[in-house]
């Protein structure tokens, strides 16, 4: 490569690290996609106005005096989809944000924004499914709120859940722990949830039997932390997928995340649907998977610990942390080439969760 090309690329990298400026005048769907525009919105608006040291960590859950606190809103469309519904998603999603912060979830609160005219039977079905998910996970919904908005001012029902958990002594998961040589693990095939929702909308007229992977991960995380040393950092790759969480890791650590394309588990149905839609499965949402960064010498042990659990029986080691190129995620393609896996721009699949 020429010296000039390298200079240009270095300038791009410097720019990527500058605190982003919010130049848009209106909110677009891209601000909700979990990619670059979402990050700009959070950092240049919310962090600026609400900023404090706990929020500034921008982790999946805030950590305060041994407690973890998190909140998440669910606007998925359709409300009922193969493998789950908005209620189950709202319980599992918030449990997972606590779990990957290293917390044992204690309880949840739930807020409902309901549109005038919404069938009570559907609301009961959603509440029943939340109750079932909460009981199965052992994490009860202990408080809630309901609001009703005029017809046409909501889309059926939106659910927000807030969760609180306890971080046991000695558990400290943070990008700061991540070191060169660490291995990247995923707990199963990528992209099931996002593609299942897309297909459930029916707009594509694809006949594929695929279910959302929505599942609580706190038991899996508990077992992993109890049985394996060297777990540095965990995330659940929801909106924006595996690519987005690994980009956040690379930027936070100023290290490179190098992935082996052939090692990343993706179901053939998901690969096929993504090929047709022109989407990369690495950017598609998951709702019952985690990404773990584990010290090299404990990686096999962690893999075994994950595979011992039914929800992670297809876990795999998919990459490693390297020094170069700093701040970037690189994919070694099955074809033998290398490419960047960048932050997502725009929103190929709105309202997935």
């Amino acid at each position: 490569m020429s010296a000039r090309e390298r200079e240009v690329l270095e300038a791009v990298e410097r720019l990527r690290r500058l605190r982003p400026k919010l130049k848009d005048e209106l909110i677009t769907l891209a601000h909700g996609a979990g990619g670059r525009a979402s990050r700009v919105l959070v950092e240049a608006l919310f962090l600026e106005e609400l900023g404090n040291p706990v929020l500034a960590e921008l982790e999946d859950a805030a950590r305060i005096d041994g407690l973890a606190l998190t909140t998440d809103s669910y606007v998925v469309k359709p409300l009922f989809f193969p493998g789950g519904d908005i209620g189950e998603l709202a319980v599992n999603g918030t449990i997972n944000d606590l779990a990957v912060s290293g917390a044992r979830p204690l309880c949840l609160c739930a807020g409902f924004v309901i549109e005038e005219g919404f069938p009570i039977a559907d609301l009961r079905r959603i509440a029943a499914s939340m109750g079932e998910a909460a009981r199965a996970a052992g994490v009860p919904v202990v408080a809630g709120d309901t609001k009703v908005v005029e017809r046409g001012h909501g889309d059926g029902v939106y659910v927000t859940t807030t969760g609180i958990g306890v971080i046991d002594e000695g558990v400290e998961l943070s990008p700061a722990n991540v070191q060169v040589g660490d291995r990247i693990l995923v707990s199963g095939p990528m992209g099931d949830h996002g593609v299942a929702i897309m297909i459930a909308r029916g707009a594509l007229e694809l006949e594929v039997e695929l279910e959302s992977d929505t599942a609580p991960l706190h038991a899996l995380v508990g077992d992993l932390l109890a049985s394996c040393e060297g777990v540095r950092w965990l995330r659940d790759p929801t909106r924006g997928g595996l690519a987005t969480v690994l980009n956040e890791l690379a930027l936070a650590t100023e290290l490179a995340v190098v992935l082996d394309e052939g090692a990343i588990p993706v179901r053939p149905e998901v690969t096929g649907a993504c090929e047709i839609l022109g989407i990369d499965p690495l950017y598609v949402a998951n709702e019952g998977k985690l990404v773990a960064v584990v010290a090299r010498e404990h990686a096999e042990e962690a893999l075994e610990a994950l595979r011992a659990d039914r929800v992670a029986r297809d876990a795999a080691i998919v990459g490693e942390v390297q020094p170069d190129p700093p701040g970037l995620v690189v994919l070694e393609t099955s074809f033998g080439g290398r490419r960047i896996v960048d932050m997502l721009v725009g929103d190929p699949l709105p309202r997935i969760c």
Binding site: V12, L26, G272, V330, L331, G337, D342
Partner: protein
């Protein structure tokens, strides 16, 4: 996955690369243009440039349908979308393309009813479901997508759906290739010919390239091994001093193309006298408009459009990128003022645009070339 993995095998790639290398003359650089944006995307997505011998320099051509739409046409689309009774339907790629007055994504946020569709037939369905609204489809693309617009128009006529309108921006590939060949900056050794376009037009229309300009062309598929095999076929032609149109994509492309698709286009559309291409300027007989028989379904006749030519931003060098005169990173605003989230030029928008492909996938530093002093 069957029918995909076979075309992505690293082992086969290494063998083909070795065969390509054996065909190359030492100390010579081979500049090959992939005309089609789909190939540009494949090349970056699979890291093909790193697999190929360094002597092969792939130049990214003008065949990205989103990239060649001039700003004035985007402004026309925005003016249609802003009308109160209009549902404006578009392929997702066009949503973020900047015109002189913003993008469709911004128009949607500001209240316009803009909907993403995967096919013009989806737009026709929207029209059927909303008989009181005008449903406009932003028809873009080369001969690849023109048949689906044509079939949709035929269906609208046959079903008597009169609230569907096509805003036709279909372009044709041959005039664009001719513009590249006659450009004073032209320095290429051969072409990787477009695959999907050729399924429609066949391989005969490329004969003038080998006859008049003496450049080999190989029509190629879109999997990485397709591209690699096409490079090998061009290298073999050059080594054997041959210059022919060859077809690597035989599993899909026929010499005569797809006569039924061509008939559908001919029944509904005809050539415009001239059409502006982003970066390439006005090219005569390079685009399609609806025939008089389909005047009722023609959005250009239905609405009073601004139709103003909007000059590209001064800093934007999409034209040079589309002609392959400069590499994406050589553009003055690449990656700084022009990024995928805030694009100045169209090449930075579509995943098939050379700048977006390079920015999103190719931005890897490699060892510096040793420059002889």
């Amino acid at each position: 996955m069957r029918f995909v993995d076979e075309y992505r095998s690293g082992d086969v790639a290494r063998r083909v690369t070795a065969e390509i290398q054996a065909l190359l003359e030492p100390n010579r650089t081979y500049k090959l243009m992939e005309v089609c944006g789909g190939h540009t995307h494949t090349i970056y997505k699979h890291g093909i440039e790193q697999v190929l011998p360094e002597q092969i320099d792939l130049i990214h051509g003008p065949g990205c349908p989103v990239c060649v739409i001039p700003m004035g046409r985007v402004d026309d689309a925005l003016s249609i979308a802003a009308r109160p009774n209009v549902i404006f339907t578009t392929f997702g790629d066009m949503m973020r393309v900047p015109g002189g007055n913003g993008s469709l994504l911004e128009a949607k946020a500001a209240g316009a009813d803009v909907r993403m569709v995967y096919s013009p037939l989806d737009a026709l369905k929207v029209a059927r479901e909303n008989p009181d609204r005008d449903v406009v489809f932003f028809a873009i693309g080369f001969e690849t997508t023109a048949p689906s617009t044509a079939l949709t128009l035929l269906r609208a006529r046959d079903e008597g759906i009169r609230n569907f309108f096509a805003f036709c921006n279909h372009v044709t590939i041959i005039p664009a290739i001719r513009a590249i060949l006659t450009s004073p900056d032209f320095r290429l050794d051969g072409f990787i010919g477009p695959g999907h376009v050729s399924t429609v037009i066949g391989t005969r229309p490329y004969e003038f390239i080998v006859r008049d300009y003496l450049k080999p062309l190989v029509v190629a598929g879109f999997e990485p091994l397709d591209v690699l095999q096409a490079v090998w076929m061009i290298a073999r032609q050059l080594a054997e001093r041959r210059c022919e149109v060859e077809n690597q994509y035989t599993r899909v492309v026929r010499e005569e193309g797809n006569p039924r698709a061509l008939e559908a286009i001919a029944e509904t559309m005809e050539l415009r006298t001239s059409f502006e291409w982003r970066g390439l300027g006005f090219i005569s007989q390079s685009a399609l408009k609806l025939r008089d028989e389909f005047a009722h379904w023609d959005a250009e006749l239905r609405y009073d459009l601004p139709g103003v030519r909007v000059a590209d931003p001064k800093a934007c060098q999409c034209g040079e990128v589309l002609k392959g005169v400069i590499k994406p990173w050589e553009c003055k605003v690449f990656g700084t003022a022009c990024t995928p989230e805030r694009p100045i030029g169209t090449c930075m928008v579509s995943s098939e645009g050379a700048c977006a492909a390079y920015y999103n996938y190719g931005r890897l530093t490699r060892p510096l070339e040793v420059v002889a002093s």
